[in-house]
């Protein structure tokens, strides 16, 4: 009998749970309150917080979120609504990429923005990256769920994976617009009269590789089949694609490899399809580094037919940007200011749709001051000096709609 008791004790001891709950990196989430979901959640043993306004709130760690996703239960990250929103950076500090966004962090923050301002912000999944990640567009407008006859303006970030700051500026633009809608009459007027579309992260696969493996990764993650990886998304658009081998490269291992054909990459295809559904008046695509504002053409140093207009807008944006922190953003035609580029987004949007299209190369100015690397503390100031340029372009679009 003693032996049997010993045997049972030994095995019951082993079966004690070995895992303790960790409350670091937790998020507050909410789910719709209905009987089916309640039954599912009861099985999962989540840390219940409260029942409010027909939604159930829980404290979840990343594992819980993963399990919710696996069970197909949709949830909204509510954490930002439980802290002063100015603490947003604190929520993402401690991650491997510091205060910059990863794909999942951006996804959560976009959803939180939509949840916090459902009447102004709407997140739309406009397609998938090569590796299956969602490419999100944030729409900001009054009556955000309606497609109104208003000026449409487009902002996009992170064609190039290593340019982490280019995710932050368009994301913060969206956040600024919704947060200041009620308090700032100028913002309200802009948002009421336009539909602003923001894609902060066009190259999520590349960004994740840049975060987890190699900081200076630039392209997407296409396996080119010759041992090399990646197509330069900003050489893959279909206007004068592959015009010469100076503005892009036919060599797969090159940093500016343009891909086997125009729009060969799903990320560029997503943009093309999105533009076919919309009627944009203007756009900015964010990159770094160089601290300049560039406009078409990039494939040649010959000026475009609308050179005067493009220069006038760029000059105004530059002046307003300089007024913020005193940082001068030079401006000029891409092909004659920086270097030749063919198959880039602005040549395509300007060439096909004829709309003012700008590449803003964010700070720093040169490689000795950080190159593609920005300090976390610079995020706010870089955004602040870029804000007037974005607002000006929205304003211009409304006036010319």
């Amino acid at each position: 009998m003693k032996k049997v008791i010993f045997f049972l004790l030994v095995f019951s001891f082993i079966l004690l749970p070995l895992r303790s709950q960790s409350y670091s990196d937790t998020d507050i989430i909410s789910v719709e309150k209905n009987q089916k979901i309640i039954r599912e959640l009861q099985k999962m043993g989540l840390d219940f917080l409260m029942d409010w306004s027909e939604r159930l709130y829980f404290v979840c760690n990343p594992t819980d979120l993963y399990r919710l996703q696996a069970e197909g239960i949709s949830y909204v990250i509510e954490t930002p609504n439980f802290y002063p929103y100015s603490q947003g950076d604190i929520l993402i500090q401690g991650r491997i990429n510091g205060a910059f966004h990863s794909y999942l962090e951006l996804e959560a923050d976009l959803m939180a923005l939509e949840a916090a301002y459902p009447y102004l912000a709407k997140v739309v999944d406009i397609g998938d990256s090569l590796e299956g990640r969602n490419i999100y567009a944030l729409k900001i407008s009054d009556n955000v769920n309606l497609d109104e006859s208003e000026a449409e303006v487009f902002f996009v970030g992170c064609h190039h994976a290593r340019e982490w700051i280019s995710v932050e500026v368009p994301y913060l633009l969206g956040k600024y617009l919704v947060e200041n809608y009620e308090s700032d009459p100028e913002i309200k007027s802009l948002v009421d009269s336009s539909e602003v579309w923001i894609v902060p992260l066009l190259n999520p696969d590349g960004l994740e590789y840049s975060i987890y493996f190699y900081r200076y990764w630039r392209k997407n993650r296409r396996n080119n089949g010759d041992g090399s990886y990646g197509v330069d998304l900003n050489r893959n658009y279909g206007y004068n694609w592959g015009y010469d081998d100076e503005g892009s490269s036919p060599i797969p291992s090159s940093q500016t490899y343009r891909g086997p054909s125009a729009f060969s990459e799903p990320e560029a295809q997503v943009i093309r399809a999105f533009f076919q559904q919309k009627n944009f008046q203007a756009l900015i695509t964010y990159h770094n580094y160089s601290q300049v504002i560039l406009y078409p053409w990039g494939y040649t140093n010959m000026p475009s037919a609308k050179d005067e207009l493009l220069e006038e807008i760029a000059a105004e944006m530059s002046e307003q940007m300089e007024a913020v922190n005193g940082n001068l953003y030079g401006y000029g035609q891409a092909g004659s200011t920086l270097y030749l580029t063919n198959g880039d987004m602005t040549d395509w949007s300007f060439g096909i749709y004829g709309i003012p299209s700008y590449t803003i190369e964010l700070p720093p100015a040169d490689v000795l001051h950080g190159g593609f690397f920005n300090a976390e503390r610079e995020i706010s100031s870089i955004f602040e000096e870029n804000l007037p340029a974005a607002l000006y372009l929205i304003h211009w679009s409304i006036l010319n709609f």
Binding site: R19, L104, G230, H369
Partner: protein, 414 residues
């Protein structure tokens, strides 16, 4: 007829599409050699000392030395009253796709190899009355990778360099106890504490501009788990064993320091992060049997199940995609013992051979190792010296990886 052909072709096309793999986050899933992947194989259960290695990695069915406590502590009851054992090994493995190597940054024309020699086990077991106790230390997993070091020189001037190095160890401290419950049944339980570290460093330098980027990540591991087993001495010839290891959380205190340094511009940017990470290690179940065909010849086999489908890696606050499947490792071995007399002393020579099929957990690529193992030794009174070699080849990934190991062990049994 023509319409039918078109219909058939369309049907075939869509049927093929159905079987195509769905898009996945493939480029962040390296396959065999994720950063946290152990050297050689993901499937670790205790340690294989020389006598175990030589018999197709049979490790929990026969009482070879006190390392059995790490896989099946019930076998401790089969050892002499006091057993003292240690083991050292030479490991060599080839790698193709890992970290920044062959994932887009650095290319190699063929697989790269890395090797190390390690003193990897020491332990003692002691029987007191019906109880047997054991205390062991082992090197459970190694996370080393071949160093990647590329320099671009032009006219004797260094323009650019990139360097990557990863090293790591996971140690296991084990305390076990076992007891014979009847003439045929023994049970045992082991408590295991794991601890170790992993450090990865990438340094990139543009020498002309004096710009450098460094990416340092370090992880301090800790965790604990239980393992248990039973041993049935059914007849003089036939014996069976069953084991399990609890799933456990390998915790990691992780640090990351990413920095950009350009002295000519006075630029020194650092992004630091720390995190409490978790790696959810799988449940392991095993079943084995041995049969004594002749007085000096026996065969044995083991099946070991690893519940990798439950594996999770929470890395700096984000759950990494690890699309893993459960696997069953199979080992088959044989041992023949010759004896001879020298200086009026009896000596025994074990001859061992085995085969092991070791499927790796990732679904894509579907990869497995096959090992052929050989071993021998010399036993004189209580002193056992054993040696073994394992030659492994991988297939499925297309990278034709290989892994070899040589082990030496010494046991003294009172």
């Amino acid at each position: 007829m023509r319409k039918r052909n078109i219909f058939f072709l369309l049907l075939l096309f869509f049927t093929l599409l159905f079987f195509f793999p769905l898009a996945s986050w493939s480029q962040l899933v390296l396959g065999q050699y994720e950063d946290e992947a152990p050297f050689r194989t993901w499937n670790t259960l205790g340690i294989k000392t020389a006598s175990s290695l030589g018999m197709g990695e049979i490790q929990f069915t026969l009482a070879t030395d006190c390392s059995v406590a790490l896989s099946n502590p019930a076998l401790l009851t089969e050892l002499p009253k006091i057993t003292f054992s240690f083991n050292s090994s030479y490991h060599r493995a080839s790698f193709f796709k890992y970290s920044i190597v062959n994932t887009g940054v650095l290319f190699s024309e063929k697989t790269l190899t890395d090797d190390f020699t390690a003193f990897d086990f020491i332990g003692i077991s002691l029987r007191l009355s019906d109880w047997t106790f054991a205390l062991n230390w082992s090197l459970l997993e190694v996370y080393d990778r071949p160093v990647a070091d590329y320099q671009y020189m032009f006219q004797d001037t260094l323009y650019y360099s990139i360097y990557m190095n990863q090293q790591g160890r996971l140690n296991n401290l084990n305390f076990s106890l076992s007891r014979k419950l009847s003439k045929i049944l023994s049970v045992g339980l082991g408590f295991n504490r794991v601890y170790g570290q992993l450090d990865r460093e990438i340094i990139e330098v543009w020498a002309v501009d004096r710009v450098s980027i460094s990416d340092n990540k370090s992880h301090e591991y800790s965790g604990y788990y239980f393992n248990a087993g039973l041993f049935l001495d059914l007849t003089d010839r036939f014996k069976v064993a069953a084991v399990f290891r609890t799933p456990y959380v390998k915790k990691s205190e992780s640090q990351s320091v990413l920095s950009y340094n350009a002295p000519p511009g006075g630029t020194d940017i650092t992004i630091e992060a720390s995190s409490n990470d978790e790696y959810h290690q799988p449940l392991v179940l095993g079943f084995g049997a041995s049969y004594q065909i002749l007085k000096d010849f026996r065969v044995m086999s083991e099946l070991t199940y690893f519940n990798w489908s439950k594996y999770e890696a929470d890395y700096f606050g984000e759950i990494q995609q690890r699309d893993y499947k459960d696997v069953i490792k199979i080992g088959v071995g044989a041992e023949m013992v010759n004896s001879f007399t020298l200086f009026n002393q009896d000596f025994y020579l074990p001859w061992r051979a085995g085969f092991s099929y070791d499927p790796q957990p990732m679904k894509e690529p579907n990869s497995h190792y096959v090992y052929f193992t050989f071993g021998s030794g010399i036993h004189w009174k209580g002193l056992h010296f054993d040696t073994a070699v394992s030659i492994g080849r991988e297939s499925g990934s297309g990278d034709a990886l290989s892994t070899n190991r040589i082990a030496f062990s010494l046991s003294y049994q009172f």
